[in-house]
Symmetry: C2
Subunit: 293 residues, 2 copies
């Protein structure tokens, strides 16, 4: 499998679906619908929705059936970025080489855009018609839990309010497991549950998600030091400037790379029960630690 | 029926349920859980959740079964207030006589508190175990639609971005129908759908909601001019100061009062198919236009 091509294919599928699911830009009130599209259609790796599709396919389901859920999880990711970029939070002017939402539409609109994307995400989840209502309710419960204060938002809170402080390994791990890890976990579980995974399949994919998410985050920290600004589409060194807790800051670069490799190995091992249908998830692990963007 | 006592009873029921459903104040990370409680447990009329309970009871269901949904709708109301109060929006220091969230916890936390309340709302909706999964999925879909850019947020956008401009009746009506009306409608429909209402019952309650919501909003506009600051728990005259579009600004006080009475009459008429079980909703209409807070 040529992983980058397959990821690209999934990203295109998700991008087309997002275009269908987002209100048209001239829907009243047009300004917010244009602003939502500005942030959502601005690219990105579409990694989380790709994980939803891949999880469904790995357990024998169809990507098409879980597309609304995949888009919902991408909308939650984008909402969290739009709010995170606001002046009250990280105060970032650029994201993926483009001006951030509040720089283009103002703070009030960026706030409302984030709210609207989060709300639309749950609307889309309730429209997964391919799955049983029981599975849909379960997925909504897991997504809300993963995006909430015991997941994504919890990680955001600890990250925001511990910036500049000396941080212990346990706090750093908490931030990573929650700020990014929770939604990777939810992405894989969402695709699997909607596609009718068995308990054992679900457990394997959950374990995969945890190790893969950790590898991804450590690599992200490493790229903020070693990466190429042009390839990343964002300035490097921002973690150091903002005194953010990172793996390299706590363990140094070499040990961080070793930790990423270790987590990647465990992620791959968690897939041992699956055959070729899990090849995308296997290739993803390799991509995660070798990527330069 | 002594309406105020019954409303108070429902508010107490909802308050106790919210206390159970919100994460405990010492749950990690504690600061956001304390901040969530500060905004949610700060009182308010609990009108929306009372409507959810009353709608369920009106169609023969039980209030206890729809409590999680009632609390979810209150959380969405509170999230919208917390974000609306932020400096980038209305920049209000006080709400119900108490400092607003960002004045106590800072802007970053108030932003995250709003996000967290909205997210928790959908988690609670997915935990309505008394109803069928089909009804739960339908309710989540309607709540997300009502809270989104074609409902609550749409009204917020038009309200925010038309402040200071000369406004036509159609725009004013749009703002009211969406910023407040949509969630009244959703409140009644949520209680009714979860309790297994017939299509006819649902249609009557929906019509009731639309007229009652309009009466409520016109009365709100009137109270901002004629009301007593102490009873309202907020300064009056803010609409005039902020050059907000209101019914009195467009039609004058007398005609606004007539419009409120007319809407109230239509709301009561929509209940004609129901017997004594709709007495709370009937009394509510009277309360809505006679209230002084």
């Amino acid at each position: 499998m040529i992983f980058k091509e397959e990821l690209k294919k999934k990203a295109v599928l998700v991008g087309e679906a997002l275009d269908r699911f987002l209100p048209k830009p001239d829907t009243y009130p047009p300004l917010i619908h244009q602003a939502m599209r500005y942030s959502v259609m601005g690219g990105g790796k579409r990694l989380r929705p790709a994980l939803v599709l891949a999880a469904a396919e790995t357990v024998g389901g169809s990507a098409a059936d879980v597309l609304p859920a995949a888009c919902a999880i991408e909308l939650i990711h984008v909402y969290s970025l739009v709010h995170d970029d606001l002046p009250a939070m990280d105060n970032d002017d650029y994201r993926r080489g483009k001006l951030t939402s509040h720089k283009v539409y103002g703070e009030a609109m960026a706030l409302l855009v984030g709210d609207a994307l989060l709300t639309l995400a749950f609307k889309l989840l309730s429209e997964c018609r391919g799955a049983s209502p029981d599975a849909v309710v379960r997925v909504i419960n897991e997504v809300a839990a993963g995006a909430g204060t015991l997941g994504l938002i919890g990680g955001q809170v600890v990250d925001t309010f511990s910036a500049g402080e000396a941080i212990e390994e346990s706090t750093l791990e908490y931030i990573h497991r929650h700020k990014t890890g929770a939604m990777y976990r939810v992405s894989l579980r969402t695709g699997a549950i909607l596609a009718g995974a068995s308990d054992e399949e679900l457990a394997c994919l959950t374990e995969y998600a945890e190790h893969m998410g950790l590898a991804f985050q450590i690599k992200d920290d490493i790229l903020d030091i070693e990466g190429d600004e042009k390839k990343l589409g964002k300035p490097v060194g921002s973690d150091v400037r903002n005194k953010k807790a990172t793996y390299p800051a706590l363990f140094g670069l070499d040990q961080s790379k070793e930790k990423a490799r270790l987590a990647a190995g465990k992620a791959t091992a968690a897939l041992s029960k699956f055959g070729r249908e899990a090849d995308f998830l296997r290739a993803l692990v390799k991509f995660v630690i070798e990527r330069d963007f």
